[in-house]
Amino acid sequence: MNALEIKNLNKKYEGFELKNVSFTVEEGTVMGLIGENGAGKTTIIKAILNILTNYKGEILIFEADNKKNLNIYEDVGVVLDDMFFPEILYVKDINSIMKDIFTKWDSKLFFQYLEMFKLPLNKQIKTLSKGMRKKLEIITALAHHPKLLILDEPTTGIDPIARSEVIDLFRNFMQDEKCSILLSSHITTDLEHIADYITFIDKGEVVLADSCPLLMDNYGIVKCNEKEFQKIAKDDYLKYKKNKYDYEVLISNKKEFKKKYDIKIIDNITLEELMVLMIKGGK
């Protein structure tokens, strides 16, 4: 079963357009959404969650239309960038409100998480640091036993230790084979640790979608001089970047490339390098 399916999503703003975005998050997998600021990641997430109403395309959550069947949101946990409870509320207030909103809200689990992350019960949300607030948002998203987590920049603004705690929490969540995650992040190393699939959005379009481990295995960066670069056929690389002393060339099949060319330095790639080359690189 698919946890989430997006078919031909189109949305137009002034100066920005989401064009025919389609992708699927299978049950039991983690999909990472990457792309630069303003690429359209948040717009996609807003469409999935009905924050936007006027878009074209179809969005299915657990195979049900997201506009017609609001009950599906009982099984969805959400962390959004900068959107949450009024900060004047106390941490404990979230429990008294949410237990009347989600039928499966688990107060015990919520308090357990609060204790685990050392979050104070009797403090107003506005008194929490940015990292603590983010943790509170994540805990709130988890406390009704969702089957699908939709997370927009969930690790931004929190320190590395808290970040690894949060990633562990997501890993723990994924122990259940029926659970899935869609998360967008700038911190691509987090995605390398946890994502099964990567969808890369640029200027409102999907430019790359692949399995994350395969991507790390197959893609690479060739480092060569100008002479060597001239020998590489255009079809054999995706993008290149000219540095002061050398060329960095993004390739999608390291093995094939090694057979074909006699260039020694082929580095493994990180998602960050991939992003930068795909956006900034020339062809």
Binding site: L49, T53, F84, F85, I97, D100
Partner: protein
């Protein structure tokens, strides 16, 4: 939906410390006869509900709330129900304070006067909020403030103009005629207007993007 109403009540509870001084000043003024207690009621309930919108706005609560399984219609409904609850609570306080003031002055309690004033104020508050909410839902709080400011001044201006042009003495006759039911009529009318406003707000909110 109960959770959503609770949210507004809890926001008000957290905000209460800031409101206590204003509250005390109002009651003091009412005791001194500087303003009528019913004015306190209408000011306070409007101010309280405006503050909930303001806190929602600050943390983009609406965008978060529409992702919860309650649905947009219930979000609007909760706001209107919270409004009615707040008005009932402030009315209760206003009535009690009215009684105390009258007793304090050593006068007899004029029930009819107190309840008619109360009914009229609740009616006016309902009208104001019925007008205000769709504007807030459509344009957001910041723009709504400006629009309301212009609207209210427009209404005062128009009111002043009409008072000079039209003889309103027939209204007194109407009120006299219905004197026994006037409170109920006012409350019923107020509620009807509020329900109409709710329907308009739902239609706005269902289409709204955040």
């Amino acid at each position: 939906m109960i959770g959503l109403i609770k949210k507004d009540i809890l926001v008000l509870k957290s905000n209460f410390k800031i409101l206590i001084p204003i509250f005390v000043i109002y009651i003091f003024m009412a005791f001194q006869g500087m303003l009528d207690i019913s004015t306190l009621l209408s000011f306070l309930s409007v101010m309280l509900m405006m503050s909930t919108f303001s806190y929602d706005n600050l943390n983009k609560w609406d965008a978060y709330a529409v992702t919860l399984p309650n649905g947009r219609k219930n979000l609007v409904k909760a706001k209107y129900l919270a409004t009615v609850i707040v008005i009932l609570l402030t009315s209760l306080v206003a009535t009690i304070v009215s009684f105390i003031i009258t007793i304090n002055k050593g006068e007899n309690i004029n029930y009819q006067y107190i309840f008619i004033t109360l009914g009229a104020t609740i009616f006016a508050t309902f009208l104001f909020q019925a007008l205000m909410y769709p504007i807030i839902f459509k344009f957001g709080l910041e723009k709504a403030r400006l629009i309301l400011f212009i609207l209210i001044f427009g209404l005062i201006f128009l009111g002043g103009f009409l008072i000079n042009k039209i003889d309103f003495s027939f209204l007194a006759a109407v009120i006299d005629y219905f004197s026994n039911f006037i409170v109920l009529i006012l409350l019923g009318l107020g509620l009807l207007v509020l329900i109409g406003s709710y329907i308009v707000s739902v239609n706005i909110y269902l289409k709204k993007e955040f």
